[in-house]
């Protein structure tokens, strides 16, 4: 009876429950970071990785698509980690950003968005072709999915691709976003991701808003506003280029 009452309180106050849950998760992660890695792996990197592992556990136990948020007790995690709060917090990080860094990188940052979309599209298309796809619509949809998991379905729907191909494009985009979240702190030193200038380019090239948000948080939170700024233009540019110019090029080749 007490358990029922408790779970009712937790479900009813879902977002508040999520605050406690995420607070505990972050605390455990920072303890692990300090004790096991002696601070070498950033606490937030561990927290994000743990979050992804839990999302996998949640998904395999409930069969849903929302990770941990499919447990009714933790539905609030879905609200807290949803697009509204994510974008709200990203905008807040811009407060105090260096306006001169933005001005200096203006041109390169804009170019990096276009280069990023084209690059991911080409790589995704090549992988699709090497797996035996010859239909330009399927190739373009998978290529678009390698850009982000939003560009993929938007392109696929616009071109009239089958739902199986669209699902593959979403999976390619999800893989990208998960890998960017987990991988960024490890490659950051090697690719010189340590300045606002580099972060603006990183955001433009990677483009996955959630990947960039997680990756920079785990690398150096001060760089978040710069990467997030360019990343938010990527999906729009991708939805513009992939079903039009890029598709026409693919169709001309195949």
């Amino acid at each position: 009876m007490i358990l029922d009452a408790l779970s009712e309180v937790l479900v009813k106050n879902g977002l508040v429950t999520a605050f406690v849950f995420v607070g505990a998760l972050v605390w455990i992660s920072y303890e692990l970071s300090a004790r096991l890695s002696r601070g070498h792996i950033h606490g937030s990197a561990i927290a994000i990785a743990l979050g992804l592992v839990l999302a996998w556990v949640g998904g395999s136990m409930t069969g849903g698509s929302q990770g941990l948020a499919d447990f009714s007790l933790l539905a609030g995690v879905g609200v807290m980690g949803g697009a509204m709060f994510r974008d709200f917090a990203i905008v807040a990080t811009a407060f105090g950003a260096d306006i001169n860094a933005l001005k200096k990188a203006g041109f390169v940052a804009a170019a990096s968005v276009v280069i990023g979309v084209v690059l991911s599209f080409v790589v995704g298309s090549i992988v699709a072709v090497s797996f035996g796809y010859t239909d330009p619509i399927a190739i373009s949809t998978i290529g678009a999915g390698a850009a982000t998991y939003i560009v993929g379905p938007v392109t696929g729907t616009a071109l009239g691709a089958g739902s199986d191909i669209i699902a593959l494009s979403v999976a390619a985009g999800l893989t990208k976003s998960v890998l960017v979240m987990v991988g960024t702190p490890f490659v950051a030193p090697r690719i010189g991701l340590n300045s606002p200038h580099a972060a603006l380019i990183y955001g433009g090239l990677m483009g996955t808003t959630s990947g960039v948000a997680g990756g920079l948080a785990a690398t150096d939170p001060r760089l978040v506003p710069y990467g997030a700024m360019t990343a938010t233009f990527y999906t729009g540019v991708g939805c513009l280029l992939a079903p039009s110019v890029l598709f026409l090029i693919v169709r001309a080749i195949f």
Binding site: A18, V22, G23, L25, V26, S44, A47, G51, L52, A55, W56, S60, S65, G67, L68, A69, V77, G81, F85, R86, D87, F88, V91, A92, T93, A94, F95, A97, K103, K104, G106, F107, V108, G116, L119, S120, V127, A128, I142, G145, I150, A158, V170, A171, A172, V178, V187, S195, A198, I201, L205, M206, A213, A217, P221, A228, A231, T232, G236, C239
Partner: protein, 125 residues
Amino acid sequence: MVIYGVALLSFCMLVGVFVGDVLGELIGVQANVGGVGIAMLLLIILSNLSHHQFRLSAPTEKGVNFWSAMYIPIVVAMAAKQNVIAAVSSGWMAIIAGVAAVAVSFAMIPLLDKIHIGEGGHGDS
């Protein structure tokens, strides 16, 4: 007042997302074009108007900084609600496409980072 900061932040976000949606409509794509980025620019511009009568007080700044500090926990929650199963269970092609796109994009960063156009000469206007 703290609420002034929160309201300013919210106002910037709504304006940005609205402009992003309108931009998307105008160029005919079914997506928001840079809404969050536009909101960030707006916030930077509004909070840099400090020389004039528009100056943010310390409590107002707290209202914005709180949400900035909540960023990492929100990202952790975001990670915990990802459809990881779909990413790892849909076969090798999707995974290879995603991994290859990330690897090539990472490799491109140092190349583009070398480009510093005119040290502030560009975009000064």
